[in-house]
């Protein structure tokens, strides 16, 4: 086998009393990829990540990180030295500055990484001496990523890295994550944002209630489970559609939705409407939201799953 695996999880089970949070999950993460664990809140994502990070003990199953079994307590420190972690709801020391926080963790790892360079890389140059507690949410998240890079890890865990951020801060964080992939790092991402998983991931594992629903690249998942591509028409009278033997639906906004197979089919349909002036046309490709909806019959929102 030529492929190197950073993480290998086999039949992982985690129970809290009678409650099974992770129910027999197996997967592997290749070196150099962005791997996303996607699922609603409470699906068991954080439990899985924290087991891999050596924070929680598995009830059953085997987990290896860089070939080291996480149950080997003496070797756990070797895993910890090689990974960078930004936990969910990350926080650093409130009363230390950006620079002091980074130096703190630098000392813990006895790392040689330049703190000044790292501050530049994440775009916090102007905030070097600002106390952590005075930073905005986006800055805190970026500092969190910087701290998790202080030991130059090969494998980076980002647990909900953009939760609660505004759209601009979220885009900035995504760009930072893409840059890290370019540097050759393996990134293990946990998210409940469809868009985030789709934008960033090489591979996605969808889990619900502690079980794997499916996995694959975003494109593969969309192709397989996303359903048909749609032409959406606004300001279109239903009478126009008659006599064309078209399959269509009208959604709750009053928009006409016409599914199509391929480009030829698309042009054929669009031809019908060339002479109608007021009509507004949109071509919509399915995304992960449709994948999720088709797989589970439910829509994933910030509040959880909704039918």
């Amino acid at each position: 086998m030529t492929e190197k695996f950073a993480i290998s999880v086999k039949s992982l089970i985690k129970q809290y009393g009678k409650f099974t949070a992770v129910d027999g999950i197996s997967f592997k993460v290749k070196s150099g990829e962005i791997f996303s664990l996607l699922g609603p809140n409470g699906a068991g994502k954080t439990t899985i990540v924290e087991i891999i990070e050596c924070l929680k003990k598995p009830t059953k199953g085997e987990v290896e990180v860089f070939g080291i079994n996480i149950r080997d307590l003496k070797k756990q420190i070797n895993i910890k030295r090689k990974i960078g972690v930004m936990p969910q709801n990350f926080n650093a020391f409130d009363w230390l500055t950006v620079k002091e926080n980074l130096e703190y963790f630098k000392n813990i790892y006895s790392s040689n990484k330049s703190v000044v360079k790292l501050i530049e890389d994440i775009g916090l140059d102007g905030k070097t001496d600002a106390l952590y507690k005075t930073l905005s949410g986006g800055m805190k998240q970026r500092l969190g990523i910087a701290i998790s890079l202080i030991n130059e890890p090969e494998l980076l865990f980002l647990d909900e890295p953009t939760a609660g951020l505004d759209p601009q801060a979220r885009r900035d964080t995504w760009n930072l994550i893409r840059k890290l992939k370019e540097q050759g790092k393996t990134i293990f991402l946990t998210t409940h944002y469809m868009e985030e998983a789709q934008e960033l991931s090489d591979r996605i594992l969808i889990i619900i209630n502690g079980k794997i629903v499916t996995d694959g690249s975003p494109n593969k998942l969309i192709e397989e489970f996303g359903g048909k591509k749609l032409i959406i028409l606004r300001n279109c009278k239903e009478s126009l559609l008659e006599n064309h033997s078209l399959k269509y639906e009208i959604n709750f906004k009053g928009e006409v939705q016409i599914p199509f197979e391929n480009n030829e089919h698309l042009f054929k349909i669009l031809n019908i409407f060339t002479d109608i002036p007021d009509i507004e046309i949109e071509i919509k490709k399915p995304d992960l939201n449709e994948v999720f909806l088709n797989l589970t019959g439910k829509r994933m929102t910030a509040e959880g799953l909704v039918k």
């Binding site: 910890k80 930004m86 009363w95």
Partner: protein, 362 residues
């Protein structure tokens, strides 16, 4: 070397946070100072009068002489003393801070102009100069009345070493004890619950930092702020109340032992009681008895028997005793005994804390 650097990093992190946070500064410095100034002020108002033992030996036919009664009356008129008349000479009684002896032939000698009274007092006592000037004032008054005599009344001073404490002297080491206890227990509960809640502990747990390094860093930090608050309290006590404290290396050992004991207790509480508010309440349940029963406000010897038993079970009692023995009495031997007890309690509590604290479920 690596471990030392890591421990130092943890220590410095706590110290910087302490310096920058007004709340923690209040609890370690301002609170004990306020406590001391407030109670010091109350004690000063209460103990306006000084106890004075008078030993009248000038008795004729079972009756004190007129002259001796006259001098007692003159002393009484000054309104500066609580006069306690005694019959027995007890120069071994160290509780007597100042005693005046009126000699057998006082009246007779006074008539012949060759009389004296004896003041027995610890010359190093803070009230010595005030006492002596009051007594000399009374003697001058008598001498003025006895102008016809050849020699006036004189004062003979005898020095004794007394162990009598003014209440404020008794109180100051206890204030240092309270500062160390409350910062140790509440500071640790606060840090642990805050860092657990906001995820700092979780982040630390993903790094190679060990539980041992984290806890030792925390203990070092408490030792240093304990020493800082002891110094500040001592300086203010000496400026405001004129108390001279004796410094010895035992104090440092006591403060370090305190830095093991109380953060250890704080860690145990915040591990057993996980909710922030409940942990605070548990901290109060532990500190409240110590506040009042460990001999900071009241002497343990004056408490009812059952209370004394409780007092002897509290670690702050031994820290307070140790600090008082060294700082006030300069009694190294008694201090060492108490110090030993605090060291043992300290090592035990930090060992238990280290055992039951888990990175993973923090």
């Amino acid at each position: 070397m690596k471990t030392a650097l890591i421990i130092f990093t943890v220590f410095r992190g706590h110290l910087k946070a302490w310096k920058r946070n007004k709340t923690t500064l209040f609890w370690t410095l301002a609170f004990p100072l306020l406590l001391m100034l407030l109670f010091g002020g109350i004690f000063a108002l209460q103990s306006d009068k000084m106890d004075l033992y008078i030993e009248n030996q000038n008795i004729v036919n079972n009756q004190p002489t007129l002259a001796s009664l006259q001098i007692i009356e003159l002393i009484n008129i000054t309104d500066a003393f609580n006069i306690i008349e005694t019959n027995e000479i007890e120069d071994s009684d160290k509780q007597r801070i100042r005693t005046i002896i009126i000699p057998k032939n006082f009246e007779q000698d006074l008539d012949s102009g060759n009389s004296s009274i004896i003041l027995i007092m610890d010359e190093s006592h803070q009230s010595f100069s005030r006492t002596i000037s009051l007594v000399k004032g009374i003697i001058n008054e008598i001498n003025l009345e006895q102008q016809n005599s050849k020699q006036p009344l004189t004062l003979i001073q005898k020095h004794i070493i007394s162990s009598d404490l003014s209440r404020i002297e008794y109180f100051v080491p206890g204030v240092i004890g309270i500062a160390i206890m409350s910062t140790g227990i509440f500071g640790t509960i606060g840090t642990n619950t805050k860092y657990r809640k906001n995820g700092v502990i979780k982040k630390l747990a993903t790094t190679p930092l060990s539980k041992f390094e984290w806890i030792i860093g925390l203990v070092l930090y408490h030792a240093v702020i304990g020493i800082v608050s002891a110094i500040v309290i001592s300086i203010v006590a000496s400026i405001v109340f004129g108390i001279k404290l004796i410094w010895s290396p035992i104090i440092i050992v006591l403060l370090i032992a305190g830095a093991l004991t109380f953060p250890g207790i704080g860690m145990i509480i915040s591990t057993v009681v996980r909710e922030e508010e409940e942990a605070d309440a548990a901290g109060n349940i532990i500190t409240f008895p110590m506040l009042f029963l460990s001999g900071t406000f009241f002497q343990i010897e004056t408490m009812p028997g059952a209370m004394q038993i409780i007092a002897r079970a509290l670690p702050l009692t031994y820290l307070n005793n140790g600090l008082r023995e060294t700082m006030i009495f300069g009694n190294s031997q008694a201090a060492l005994l108490n110090c030993g007890i605090v060291v043992i309690i300290g090592i035990l509590s930090i060992a238990i804390a280290m055992k039951i604290t888990k990175w993973t479920d923090l």
